[in-house]
């Protein structure tokens, strides 16, 4: 450290020192970092329980220095329900990708939202099955080429991309739904605020909170991290609009 300078930003202590296995530029690691900054700021490291999914973030328990529980593929919502009911004073989050939350785990997700289980969903939507080699996911955009839709997604055969935020915001007992991203520092700061708000609402016991992250997948989309930001801007945000879909009414 240079003399006369003071430290203003460093890697959060709640993130382990282990090097993350994610591809360069992946938003998974950005969200890991933002989430752990929130945990550090709220000082809830010993009261937080995370549920790992199956997918790219299957090793999240190696990086997030909080209590973690691995769930079977798609069943993170069910495991999170159990953890939250057994330990109601803990901050519980399920960290899931689109293959986990929106494909194999749709039923668990929708029923947990319908019951209004008091935990936070963190949903990383990159529109592709990243870990298994870039196959088409329910959230793949119309016309997007993947290894299982080499001519682009044909909506006549495969249906439209699933908008999870719009779906879960219909449930009465879901209190906070927001879609965020982190393509720019400003959006990353907004994402962090959204995560913090979700944890605060959970702490008050208001109901289910759901944060969707419109993410990238440079390897699966076959582009560089910088090019993936252009794709996000041109194609993803028009179809998956960012913003707050539902929030609790503020008491005056």
């Amino acid at each position: 450290m240079k003399e006369g300078y003071e430290l203003i930003y460093k890697r959060p202590k709640t993130l382990t020192t282990k090097r993350m296995h994610y591809c360069p530029g992946c938003f998974h690691s950005t969200i890991h970092k933002l989430l752990m900054e929130v945990v550090e700021e709220m000082d809830i490291q010993d009261k937080t329980v995370g549920i790992c999914p199956v997918g790219c973030s299957v090793f999240a328990y190696d990086y997030l220095d909080v209590d973690m529980q691995e769930a079977a593929h798609g069943r993170a919502a069910a495991v999170a329900t159990a953890v939250k009911r057994m330990l109601p004073d803990r901050y519980v989050f399920s960290y899931q990708g689109d293959g986990d939350l929106a494909a194999i785990g749709t039923a668990e997700t929708l029923h947990a939202c319908n019951r209004g289980e008091n935990f936070t969903f963190i949903f990383i939507n990159n529109g592709i099955y990243g870990m298994t080699g870039g196959q088409m996911a329910p959230t793949t955009l119309e016309g997007q080429k993947t290894t299982t839709s080499p001519y682009g997604r044909d909506v006549a055969k495969m249906g439209m991309p699933l908008k999870m935020c719009e779906i879960v915001s219909q449930f009465d007992r879901v209190v906070y739904v927001e879609r965020v991203t982190c393509n720019t520092p400003a959006n990353a700061r907004k994402a962090k605020k959204a995560l913090k708000k979700a944890f605060e609402y959970q702490g008050k016991g208001l109901g289910t909170t759901f944060i969707e992250v419109a993410s990238n997948c440079p390897s699966g989309w076959k582009c560089t991290p910088v090019e993936s930001l252009d794709w996000l801007k041109d194609k993803v945000y028009p179809y998956f609009p960012l913003g707050v879909f539902k929030k609790p009414e503020e008491k005056e």
């Binding site: 450290m1 240079k2 006369g4 300078y5 003071e6 430290l7 203003i8 930003y9 460093k10 890697r11 959060p12 993130l15 090097r19 993350m20 994610y22 591809c23 360069p24 530029g25 992946c26 938003f27 998974h28 690691s29 950005t30 970092k33 982190c182 720019t184 520092p185 990353a188 700061r189 440079p218 560089t224 991290p225 910088v226 930001l229």
Partner: protein, 74 residues
């Protein structure tokens, strides 16, 4: 007068995704394409220390939390 800053980028932590380089408002950072770290990846470095304003943009966007930011005291 804008704040004066200084960043440290962990060479082994950097994966060379270039996101900090394109998001630096003062064009202080660059990707070192003549050398690699032990993983065989290019890494970013502070090219122009004098212009850094400690805005934290690079640190916030860095996916691998490899950036530490310092600000001149006072």
């Amino acid at each position: 007068m804008p704040a004066k800053g200084y960043v440290e980028i962990a060479v082994e932590g950097c994966k060379g995704c270039n996101l900090c380089v394109i998001n630096c408002p003062k064009d202080c950072l660059a990707l070192n394409t003549s050398d690699t770290n032990s993983f065989g990846l290019y890494y970013a470095y502070l090219k122009n220390e004098d212009d850094c304003i400690a805005c934290l943009n690079c640190a916030v966007i860095c996916p691998d939390a490899a950036i530490t930011v310092y600000k001149k005291a006072g």
